[in-house]
């Protein structure tokens, strides 16, 4: 991938941002066992934006949750920047999430009593950073999403798109390098949704990695690779667009 060449480290030297191997997750309900994920193997490198798509219930959310360590796989391995999640205790997992993994939920869960900057600073403060230091980093993260001017605004004073960008800033803060986003454009109008995808694209072009679940093909189109899920299985995936693409093979001469 050409994105990884922007980092000084060649892609083979650094472990992937996210690596799932043979991941299976089942749920038990009153009627028996339901397979949410079955034998999922997926590698996402720094600089890559991967879209997960597929029908409701195909396993997109579960895949994101197990990748973030918010849910546990029954079998298989999951590694974030080479660290195996199953080797971590709860405290270690929480620390990895605070430092390396940003998670954007469809419903933003911004705390109404806190300003935008305080919401974004929260994970750093939970990680033991001083309030002042956390604030500086939070404002920097808000600047990345174009919201530095709203640092002191409270969530209810912000539009839906602005709140979504605050949630993304909270996922990015402190230089976290793996972004997992579950339908981050679901509640947004199409123009704001496009802006959110453009932002995720820009963060990946700057060296982050992101996995985004979406049911909107136009939003999946921003990805380097689109991975199709059905019934908990990866059934297909696209190839990245060619480098220096001039689109010329896509045009036909039409006689008019």
């Amino acid at each position: 991938m050409n994105h990884t060449t922007r980092n000084a480290v060649p892609p083979s030297a650094a472990p992937p941002a996210l690596e799932l191997h043979g991941v299976r997750r089942t749920f038990h309900d009153g009627r028996g066992e339901r397979v949410a994920l079955d034998d999922i193997t997926l590698t996402v490198r720094a600089g890559e934006l991967v879209a997960l798509t597929g029908p409701s219930g195909s396993g997109k959310s579960t895949l994101l949750h197990v990748s973030a360590g918010l849910d546990q796989a029954d079998t298989g391995t999951i590694a974030v920047h080479g660290t195996h999640l199953h080797a971590l205790d709860n405290a270690g997992l929480a620390q990895l999430r605070r430092r390396s993994v940003g998670f954007v939920e469809q419903h933003l869960n911004l705390l109404a009593a806190l300003s935008a900057a305080e919401n974004v600073a929260l994970p750093l403060e939970l990680d033991g950073r001083s309030a002042r230091e956390a604030k500086v980093e939070a404002v920097a993260a808000l600047e990345l999403v174009g919201l530095a001017a709203f640092a002191d605004a409270f969530p209810d004073a912000l539009s839906g798109g602005e709140q979504q960008r605050v949630a993304i800033a909270r996922a990015l803060v402190g230089g976290r390098s793996l972004l997992l986003a579950d339908e981050p454009t679901g509640a947004l109008d199409s123009r704001t949704g496009e802006a959110v995808m453009a932002l995720l694209r820009a963060r990946c072009d700057a060296g982050a990695a992101a996995v985004v679940a979406t049911h909107n093909p136009a939003h999946a189109g921003w990805a380097d690779r689109v991975v199709f899920l059905a019934d908990g299985v990866i059934v297909d995936a696209t190839s990245p667009p060619p480098a220096d693409d001039d689109l010329s093979d896509l045009f036909v001469e039409v006689e008019r």
Partner: protein
């Protein structure tokens, strides 16, 4: 009609040369529809024949545009041309049925033969169409942000590709539901269960 009216719109600004019209047409629409020079001159000749455009001899270059050598034909819009252009801008184009769509025809034909894996055709098409969508989305994000014409032209392409992907999802759902109801009724499934294809 789009090339004809597009050229009239460009000529309404000022008299222009053929190759200049080709370039301006392409630039105005984000280079999405390349024109060959022959197409430009064929259309200009028809516009001249119909009295909507006249040529002037174009001695020397136009000082404003600094293009064209002596002897090249320069084209100028007439009042009749301006009338046609006003009509074009002033009249909505009826949304006609789409042109024959090979994918629609392929999927419809595949339903007639039980040995053909229609769900597999849909999956392959979805992957291929998504790859095209990724390429246009990337091209769109790399343009000059202020180039509104290009942005709008590429948005149109992205929207129509997305529509095909929505339709493929619908076709898959419809076919899956129909296969399941056949199955429930005791009939043999019309399609082999091929959704779980690991690549």
């Amino acid at each position: 009609m789009s090339v004809r009216n597009g050229l009239l719109a460009l000529l309404a600004e000022s008299p222009k040369y053929g190759f200049q019209l080709k370039k301006e047409f392409e630039d105005a629409t984000g280079a999405l529809w390349p024109l060959n020079v022959g197409q430009v001159y064929t259309t200009l000749n028809r516009l001249v024949r119909d009295g909507q455009v006249v040529t002037d001899s174009g001695h020397g270059a136009d000082p404003a545009t600094n293009v064209g050598d002596e002897g090249q034909k320069r084209y100028r819009i007439t009042e009749a041309g301006r009338d046609e252009l006003r009509d074009w801008f002033g009249t909505a184009r009826p949304r006609l049925a789409p042109e024959r769509d090979e994918v629609v025809i392929k999927i419809a034909m595949s339903l007639r033969d039980r040995t053909i894996d229609t769900l597999g055709i849909i999956a392959d098409q979805r992957r291929s169409t998504t790859e095209t969508l990724q390429r246009f989305t990337r091209a769109r994000s790399r343009g000059e942000p202020d180039d509104l014409g290009r942005r709008i032209a590429l948005d149109a392409v992205v929207a129509s590709i997305s529509a095909e992907l929505h339709w493929l999802d619908q076709a898959e759902e419809l076919l899956t539901a129909s296969t399941e109801s056949h199955h429930a009724a005791g009939a043999r499934p019309a399609q082999p269960p091929t959704r779980r294809r690991n690549r």
